[in-house]
Every structure is written in structure tokens, then in C-alpha cells.
Amino acid sequence: STIDLSTAGDGGDLLDQLRDRGNVRMGFANETPFAFIDSEGDLTGQAAEVGKEIFRRLGVDSFVPKLADFSSLIPGLNAGLFDVISAGMYITPARCEQILFTNPDYNAPYAFLVPEGNPLGLTTLDDVVADPDVVLGVIVGGVEESVATGVGVPSDQIVVFPDQVSGLDGVAAGRADAFLLSTLSLRSALASRTDSGLELSEPPFIPTVDGVDQNGAGGFGFRLGEANIVEAFNSELATLKSEGLLLPIVEPFGFTEDEMTDLTAEELCQAPQA
């Protein structure tokens, strides 16, 4: 074995390399619904399937799954252990300094988990701020808590749950009036508890903190300097979107029209953090 200089070029060569090699090593963290291994041993999930489709269109049609902890995806990519991060990773300005993102292929807005019929009529965080009696549930350590306080929800209106399931139980038991999370997560939580008597608030919303939209938009990551492949990837992604082919690919994983987005990586990378 010899030294692999894959990061040394100006970016034009990764795609050529992948085409030569005939496969692409896709870093993922085994998280549903984004990327996981199915019982046949195939890598699948929303990000995996979108990634595979685009790579096929780019002329690479063999996929090597590279399972990693979520926190090791970026160092693993930079160490050359994978060619692409294909894990539905949120595009954030901090991450943009480490890796190059493609445009997002989904944007998960927020919603509330509320009792059926949404008795308090909560649809945005502003509704929570407006009514001091509303108790809002969030997951411990999640971004939702800072989003809520950023929008102006007083901390005495917030209760913290250790995980999704206890948040769901909390709303059902009336310990919180609403539970704030991304639509994707809430849908998958509800899917496992169909008889809970809870529903998602409609429509989903994107909160704004200090004038900055709090998107939950995810894309694919490449090493810095590999702009060429990102460009090629983006253009194939745009084609998928414009031809309406994206939604059919991701629908089996619980994605809906709500998660489709036209945001760009550039916008998301430049968004100041709340």
C-alpha cells in the first residue's frame, strides 16, 4: 500500500478516482431514517438512497458502507476513511469549516406534539410565548431548548425530558402541553405509539431566532477542497428535485413534501448561529 494523495488535488479528481475505483465509501452512523443497514445487508435510508441515486447518475454504482459513530464522521472523512458522509448530517456553519456540504436534500421543520385536536391551538413558538400557562417539553441537551429560549420562551415554561419516549409520555400525561421536536423525529416516535391520542401540530414551522431561521437541513459532506464533486453532486440533486424524483425516493422513509427544500448549502453555512 502506498500513500493516498486524494486530498492533495484541487478537487477535480475525486469523482474521477471514484469512477476508476468503481465504488464510493459512504460514511454513516446507522440512524433511521437517514442511513442504516437493512436485513439484506444493504445500506439504505433517506440519505443513503438519495446518495446512491446521485452517485449512480455520476457513474459510480457500487457502495461501500462505512459504519461510524456520528461524532467520528467528520474526522473519519478528513482522515480519508470515507469518501462522503451520507448520514443526513445537518448543515451548520461550524461543520462547514471542517467539511464541504452539498445542498440539502431535506429540511426538517419543527412541530409540536400535542393532544389530538390541539386544544390550545399551538402552531408556533410565539403562541407559547403568548400564553404564560403553556408548558413546553424539550429533550435534555437538544438544540430545541436553546431555540425555544432564543425565541423568548421563559425558562419556567420549559420542562426537560430525558428522551423522545418520555416526552411523548409527558404530553399524554399532561405534564407538558406540547413537546417540541423536528417533524421527522416526532413522526417516527408517533409511529411506534399509534394509540397515544397525540398528534402533530399543523403546519410545521421554522422558528426564527434573532432574525435567523433555525433550519434542520441536511446534506452530504465531502472533504474541503473537493468543490468539483460537490458541484456535480449539486447539479444532479437539482435535476432530481426539478424532475420530482426526489420525493418518491425518500417517501418510504417517512419524508413528506414538508421536508422538501430549496435552501442551499451556502445559505446554511453563512447563517449565523443562534
Binding site: 461524532s71 467520528s72 467528520i74 474526522p75 461550524a94 469549516e97 471542517q98
Partner: protein, 221 residues
Amino acid sequence: MSGWNWDVFWDSVPDLLDGLVVALQATVLGYLIALVLGLGFALLRRSSKLWISVPASIVIEFIRSTPLLVQLFFLFYVLPEVGISFSTLVTAAIGLGVHYATYVSEVYRSGIDGVPVGQWEAARALNLPARRTWTSVILPQALPRAMPALANYVIAMFKDTPTLVAITVVEMLTVARAIGSETFLYAEPITMAGILYLVTALVMSWLARILERRFGQVRAA
């Protein structure tokens, strides 16, 4: 890539030292297990009954020739499935302990084999029961003989603690990785962790050498 960040490099030390403490805890706990279990292994393997010594040999050789990492995974994921759940640190100590018990048993074994056969015969001539022969004649002579080698395996076990990163024990490598995912700088904390591991291991072997020399003197007296 960005230049070397000395702040992250030095600032990682306090957190890494916490990790070092955890690594040392796992080592001490694991080694206690290895010492006890290893003795059991050694005795089983020496048994005069083939139906004991042969299976014992197979199990010991098996554990000794398979990766610690996989054994740790096995304990970490499988024990809870069958309803046994320990804290991660205890699971780690069990993994280290069982693995090293196979090495330790060999150390005991050569220590025991080093006791002159005349000692066995004298015990027999005094009609000492088997248990008493072991506890008051053979082991008191075999264990001191085994000390230096036993000390070496403590160090070896310590050097294996980074493997515990795979089962989320918060030892130094885990800490280094956590610092890395916060700062996106991996090189600095990993390098510092490596230095700390090396220094600790070298200090340990230095101590072991002193111990050995001390011990040698005691034996000579």
C-alpha cells in the same frame, strides 16, 4: 488544514487526566479479577483429571487467542441481553480481567512448576491434605516467584485500556475523541493522550523494576 493549536493541546490535560483515572480504575479492578480468575484457570489446567484439564485448556487458549476488543463487545452488548447489567466500567474490568486471566494463569503455572518437586513430596510425607498443601506450601512459594511477570501484565493491561473507547468507557482516548468532536481538532488531544499513556506506562514499568529489585533482595535474605 489549520495549524497546531497549542491551547487545545494543553487545555486537554485536565480532562485527559480524568480519563487517566478511569483507565487506572479499570486496570486495578480488571487486574484483581485476573489475579483471582487466573489462579482458578491455572489450577483447573493442572488438574489430574483429563475431563477438567482438557476443557480448561481449550477455553483458556480460546480466550487467549481472540481479540480483547471483540470480547469487550460481547460482554457489553450480550450481557444486558441476558439480563446481566453492570456499569460500563465494571463490564470493562470483567473483559480485561477475563482476558488477562489467561496470561496470568500461565504465570502462575510456571511459578507453580518452579516449586521443587521435593516440596510436594515433603507435603505428602507429612500427609498434608491437598488444600493445605496448596495454601501453605505451594502457593506461598509460587507467588513470589511469579511477581515480576505479574507486574509486567499490569502494565500490559493498562496499555490495553484505550480499547475501552469501543464500549464508551470514558478513558483517555474517549476523552480525546470527545474533545475532538467539540473543537474539530483531533490531533492535539490524541497526541496529548498518547504522551500521557506513554509516560504512565513508562512510570509503571520503572516502578515494576524497582519492585522486582526490592523483591529480589527480600528473597535473597
